[in-house]
Structures are given as structure tokens and as C-alpha cells.
């Protein structure tokens, strides 16, 4: 059994090419893949940043050709030519393929390292593949391990601990000032896109009571409607500030809109309850002196950017630790795969021995006239002898599968017991299809 992964991602392909390979419904593609002789099991992961096919095969070269042609013909369907595709497709086999999957699920290969969405996407892709029977023993176990590894990475490192987007940094900061955003009141001043993005992030975290104040009431009203907020003109600013716990500033204009005088008046009116002011306007909309006032926490775009950049750096530092975890899990899975490689030989060996035993029993039965009780006794005796003789070599093969020398043991067993010799006694048992099924 071999693993092969072929795909493209943000590392190799631009978004215009990646989007041509986005798959909405992977099931028919998976069905097609596993219907062929080259592929035993298949898994397809398609996100906005990657499209990857991972398969289990007994014929690595044939599977490689199949996956490349699958990308070119079935998936691209005329939207990308083969030459263009060959430049961006990458390949990993066996240990490298499993390591790649572990890294992807743990978000080490993501555009934003540590982002949480990828784990859900892998889980969903696994659900679909398992649902249509494309994943079985090997990929089922590999995907289970990849999900467990991703969870280990998230819990044992700080890779996902700190936000790396400006909007998420603002949400994180709000969580350090307020116990919860539920029941708090938000005020967006201006109707710029950046303000809307930040407001969306805060809204998703429970900031439900919202006001939008804008110079142009029509534009403010459109945005307000989107968030179920109330729209106001800037003339009501002093009154709105008194009620607001989180203020987002995103207004054009040279003079600061939020002055210490205006904020001081608002703070008196609100009983000095804390206020979180996020100034994402350029030039800045709030006088920096506002931050010196008690209960006011003012962050401008540069502050938020600096925090985001520092968090990105921290995530990169945590990657080393995450790689160690992935290496451990990869080795563990490698061991399991190696043990799995021994299964066909063990089955083969047992089938041969059983065939020989039966043939000899049949021959002896013709010479000896045994009653039922005696026949049962001889059956039990011969089975016990075969089992005892095979016990040691089978145990060694199974244990050896997890070691470096495992392949040599397997090879030796095949030669010593003439498992590949079709003229050897008991070779007719090789026709038994069950002999090669993994345990």
C-alpha cells in the first residue's frame, strides 16, 4: 500500500488558477477515482487556498499518471492547459504525503498559519469521502490521525492563540477590556469598508446593539440596515458617545473628530464606564490625547497592525514545536503503515500453511480409516502444530513491520516459504481473494 498526494495550493498557484479547481461537489469525482484500478482509496480536499487529491494505491506510477490526468481532464475540464498545470502541481508520496496532510490539517501550511477554518474543512472533506465509501482502512485511519494531530497542535502550542487580522485583534482587545460584548453598545462613525469589516467581526462576537453615524445619512443607512443598526447623522455624536462602549472610527477628513473635550463630556455622561475606541481612519479620526483619559482605550490602525504582525511572528515561532508534534505522529503512522505492509504476507503464509495442512489431511484420510471423533482429533492436532510453527515467524513479521528491518523480514519470509512460487505446495490457496485483505 502506498500513499500519493497530488495538488496545488497558494504556495504554487495564483488565485485565478486555484479558483478554477475549486470543487463544490467532490463525491462524483471521488467515485470516478476509486472506480479505476489504480486507486484503492481517495480523499479530495478543496478550499479557497488548495485543491489536493490523496490516494492509497498499489501501483504508484499508474496512480501518479491517473492523478495528473485527473487534474488535467476531469477537474480542469478545459479551464487550464496541461502545461500550465504541470508547473503548479506538487506531489508527495508515503511519509511525505502523510506529513503534508498533518501539516495542512494543523494549519501549518495555511496562508495564515494557525487559522482555524482548515480543520473544519478537512473534517468536512473526510465526511464526504467516507460517506461515498472512498476512504476505508488506510485513509480512514490517516484522516482520523490528522484530525487528532491538528487538535494536539492547537492544544499543545500557542499557534492559534493570538489573532493575526486587524479585525480579530480588535475583537481580542475588546475581550481584554470587557467581560463580554453581549449587552454592550457599538458605534460606527463613518461608513468606510474597513469600519464595516471591523464592525462585522465585533458583531459576530456578540456586539448587537449598534449605531452608525455618518456624514451622508444615506450611506450610513445602508450599512446600518446590514447590521440591524440605527443610522444617525454626525450631529448626534455627543449623545451617541455617551451610550457607546465600543466606538469604531472610519471617517475621511483632516481634523480629528474625537477630541478630548468631546470624550470628557461623554465620559461624564456615562458614569466613567470604559470605552474602547478603534480608530481605523487615515488620517486618524481621534486625537491621541484621548488615550490619556481614564477609561478610554484608543487604538489606531498602526497599533492594531503592530499587534497583528507581532502575533504572526509568535505563530511562526510556535511552528517549530508544532513540527515536532507532527514528526511524532508521522513516525507513529509510518509504523502502522509498515505493519500493514506485513499483513498480506502474513495472510499469504497462513493460507499456504492451511492449504498444505488440508491437502495432507485429505491424503492421509484416504489411507487411514478414521471415525468422526478421531478425525476431529487429528484436525485439532494438525491445526495446533501449524499454528505453533507459524506463531514465531508471524509475530516477528508483524513486529518487524514497524522497524527498519521489517522489509527484509518480509522479503525473507516470501523466499523461505516460497510464497511467490506458484508451483509450491499449497499455491492454489493464492487464488483466495480474502488472503490479501488487511486485518
Amino acid at each position: 500500500m502506498r500513499l500519493l498526494l497530488v495538488g496545488l495550493s497558494h504556495h504554487t498557484a495564483q488565485v485565478d488558477l486555484r479558483e478554477r479547481f475549486a470543487v463544490d461537489d467532490p463525491e462524483p469525482l471521488l467515485d470516478k477515482l476509486v472506480a479505476g484500478d489504480e486507486v484503492e482509496e481517495a480523499f479530495l480536499l478543496s478550499t479557497c487556498n488548495r485543491t489536493e487529491l490523496l490516494v492509497v494505491t498499489r501501483q504508484l506510477e499508474a496512480a501518479r499518471h491517473r492523478l495528473h490526468s485527473f487534474f488535467t481532464r476531469e477537474m480542469a475540464a478545459g479551464r487550464a492547459d496541461a502545461a500550465e498545470l504541470e508547473d503548479v502541481l506538487y506531489e508527495h508520496s508515503d511519509s511525505e504525503a502523510m506529513r503534508h496532510l498533518f501539516r495542512v490539517a494543523a494549519s501549518l501550511d495555511s496562508m495564515v498559519v494557525g487559522e482555524p477554518q482548515i480543520l473544519g474543512q478537512v473534517k468536512e472533506a473526510y465526511r464526504v469521502a467516507a460517506g461515498c465509501g472512498a476512504t476505508r482502512v488506510v485513509l480512514g485511519r490517516l484522516l482520523d490521525r490528522s484530525l487528532a494531530t491538528a487538535k494536539r497542535v492547537r492544544s499543545e502550542t500557542r499557534i492559534a492563540e493570538r489573532p493575526v487580522s486587524v479585525a480579530r485583534v480588535a475583537v481580542d482587545l475588546a475581550g481584554q477590556i470587557f467581560e463580554s460584548l453581549e449587552g454592550k453598545r457599538g458605534l460606527l462613525i463613518g461608513a468606510g469598508d474597513m469600519g464595516a469589516i471591523a464592525l462585522e467581526a465585533l458583531h459576530a462576537q456578540g456586539l448587537q446593539e449598534l449605531d452608525v453615524a455618518n456624514r451622508t445619512p444615506q450611506r450610513g443607512a445602508e450599512l446600518a440596515e446590514r447590521f440591524g443598526a440605527r443610522a444617525h447623522g454626525l450631529d448626534r455624536l455627543p449623545e451617541l458617545l455617551r451610550a457607546a462602549d465600543v466606538v469604531l472610527l472610519s471617517v475621511g477628513g483632516a481634523a480629528p473628530l474625537l477630541t478630548p473635550e468631546l470624550v470628557a463630556e461623554a465620559m461624564r455622561g456615562r458614569g466613567h464606564r470604559p470605552m474602547f475606541v478603534i480608530d481605523i481612519g487615515v488620517p486618524r479620526n481621534a486625537d491621541p490625547a484621548v488615550n490619556e483619559m481614564q477609561g478610554i482605550y484608543l487604538y489606531d490602525l498602526d497599533d492594531l497592525d503592530a499587534v497583528a504582525a507581532s502575533n504572526v511572528e509568535q505563530r511562526r515561532r510556535e511552528m517549530d514545536l508544532a513540527e515536532v508534534i507532527i514528526h511524532e505522529e508521522q513516525q507513529r503512522f509510518d509504523g502502522w503503515m509498515a505493519a500493514l505492509r506485513a499483513v498480506p504476507t502474513i495472510k499469504h503464509l497462513r493460507a499456504r500453511a492451511e492449504a498444505v495442512r488440508r491437502a495432507e489431511l485429505l491424503r492421509a484420510g484416504r489411507r487411514l480409516e478414521l471415525n468422526d471423533e478421531q478425525r476431529e482429533g487429528v484436525e485439532a492436532l494438525t491445526r495446533a502444530i501449524v499454528n505453533k510453527l507459524l506463531h514465531a515467524p508471524v509475530s516477528r513479521l508483524r513486529a518487524g513491520g514497524e522497524e527498519e528491518a521489517g522489509l527484509a523480514y518480509l522479503e525473507a519470509a516470501r523466499v523461505l516459504f516460497a510464497l511467490d512460487d506458484s508451483d509450491a505446495p499449497g499455491a492454489e490457496a493464492d487464488d483466495d481473494p480474502d488472503a490479501y485483505k488487511p486485518e
Binding site: 492544544s155 500557542r158 492563540e161 493570538r162 481580542d172 482587545l173 475581550g175 481584554q176 477590556i177 470587557f178 467581560e179 458614569g271 466613567h272 470604559p274 488615550n291 490619556e292 481614564q294 477609561g295 482605550y297 487604538y299 497599533d303 503592530a306 499587534v307 507581532s310 502575533n311 509568535q314
Partner: protein, 261 residues
């Protein structure tokens, strides 16, 4: 009894250490361990305190080690109640060692049997009420201290260093409000029962001792803090600083004056 107190002391210390780890490296999981240790310590401590009351006669709580141990117990319980809602594990870094010192001190000194105490039940009531007030105001001071540190960090925009086991400023301020609102009346009742005790023992509500005078001043200071907080809408940062300063004065009045004397 002593064994339970020793166990509580050890657990308080372990909780403080786990709290320190949660603040520095390990984050949320170690924080939960710190809280669990603090909760278990409080249970052992409460069992030890209840055990004091099944012996006859009940030992004197007016002994300094026993009184401090009771203050630590109430502080740990109050902290446990707050910790059910906020991520307070980081606060164990201060509360754990403080509770450890109090419990350890009490474990080293066997309680005095309850004989020769003038004033009937007033001394016991005085320690229970004043001790509870003191404990809550201690929690307010610890929350205030953390508030000032966190406020400074957020004002200076050093947020990449933010530990995950510390609560939000709002939570710290809420602890400050609640502990002041409950702690001050308890302290007041403690002062009143103390006066009743003195009256029963000496025939006068006020004998003019340094302890009484300094505690009277401390009570007046706290009364002013309560007025500033609830009457004049004092800002959270000023309230945190006041809680810290007020408790430092109260500690001096309760312990420092006696030690100096």
C-alpha cells in the same frame, strides 16, 4: 484539624505556583489547575475551620493566627465565587501565597482554648464579621492591583504580552465594586461588634487604644471610598488605586499598629 490546615496551606501554595505558570507560559489549562487547587484548598480550610467549632470549648478566634486564617478562608471562598464567571486563574498568583502564609501561620500555632475571654460572644462575632470584611477588601485590593497593571498594559499597547489567565478590566472592576459593597458593611459590623466587645469587657465603647484609633481612621477612609465609588461615580482606575491604598492602610491599622506597639 492541623493536618487539614497544613493540607490547605500546601494547596494554596500549589495554586499560587500554578497561577504563576499560567501567567507566564502555559495558559488556560494550567489556569484551570490553579483554580481547582484553590477550590480544594478552600474546602480543606473550611473543614479545618468547622472542626474548630466541634471542640468544647470553642477556641478563641481572637488569636492573630486563627483570625488571619479565617480571613484567608473567606478570601478564598469569595475568590471562588467570582472565579465561576471570569477567567481569574491568574489572580491565584497573589491570593495563593497570601492564603498559604495565613494558613501556614495558623497551622504552626495551636488554637488557644476559649477560656478567659471577656465579652461573651462579641469577640467571636467581631472576628467573623471584621475578618470577612477584611478578606473581601483584600480581594478588592488584589483585583485593584491587577486592574492597574492591566490598565497600564492596555494604555501602553503592550497587548502581545497579554496573559490568557487574567480577567478583563470590566471583570476586575466588578470584583472591586462587589467586594467593596459587601466588604464595607461587614467591616462596619465588625467595628460595631468590636465596640460591643470592648464595652462588655471594659465598660466603655472606646478606650482610646492605638488599635481602636487607627481602625477608626481606616473605617473612615473606607467610608470615603464607598462614597467616592458609589456616590461620585469614581472612575475604575482611581477606584482600583483607592482599593489598593485603602487596604494597605487597613492592614497597617489591624496588624501594623499592633506589631509596632
Amino acid at each position: 484539624m492541623t493536618l487539614l490546615l497544613q493540607l490547605a496551606a500546601a494547596l494554596y501554595l500549589a495554586s499560587g505556583l500554578a497561577g504563576a505558570v499560567s501567567l507566564s507560559i502555559a495558559g488556560v489549562r494550567t489556569g484551570r489547575v490553579a483554580l481547582a487547587l484553590m477550590g480544594t484548598a478552600a474546602l480543606a480550610h473550611a473543614a479545618s475551620f468547622l472542626a474548630l467549632h466541634v471542640v468544647d470549648p470553642v477556641p478563641r478566634l481572637t488569636d492573630l493566627p486563627q483570625a488571619l486564617s479565617f480571613v484567608a478562608l473567606v478570601g478564598a471562598i469569595a475568590f471562588g465565587i467570582f472565579a465561576r464567571r471570569g477567567r481569574l486563574a491568574g489572580l491565584t498568583v497573589l491570593l495563593g501565597p497570601l492564603a498559604f502564609l495565613a494558613a501556614f501561620f495558623a497551622a504552626l500555632h495551636a488554637p488557644d482554648p476559649g477560656v478567659d475571654v471577656m465579652g461573651g460572644a462579641w469577640p467571636h462575632a467581631h472576628v467573623l464579621l471584621a475578618g470577612s470584611g477584611l478578606a473581601l477588601l483584600a480581594v478588592a485590593a488584589v483585583a485593584g492591583g491587577f486592574y492597574l497593571v492591566e490598565n497600564r498594559r492596555l494604555k501602553r499597547k503592550q497587548i502581545q504580552a497579554s496573559p490568557r489567565s487574567l480577567p478583563s478590566l470590566e471583570t476586575l472592576d466588578r470584583i472591586n465594586v462587589v467586594t467593596l459593597a459587601v466588604g464595607f458593611p461587614l467591616l462596619t459590623l465588625g467595628v460595631l461588634t468590636g465596640m460591643m466587645w470592648v464595652q462588655g469587657a471594659r465598660g466603655s465603647f472606646f478606650t482610646g487604644s492605638a488599635h481602636e484609633a487607627w481602625n477608626g481612621i481606616a473605617w473612615l477612609i473606607y467610608a470615603a471610598l464607598v462614597v467616592a465609588r458609589f456616590g461620585a461615580h469614581q472612575g475604575a482606575r482611581d477606584a482600583a488605586a483607592s482599593a489598593l491604598a485603602g487596604f494597605a492602610f487597613l492592614l497597617f491599622a489591624v496588624l501594623g499598629v499592633g506589631i509596632l506597639a
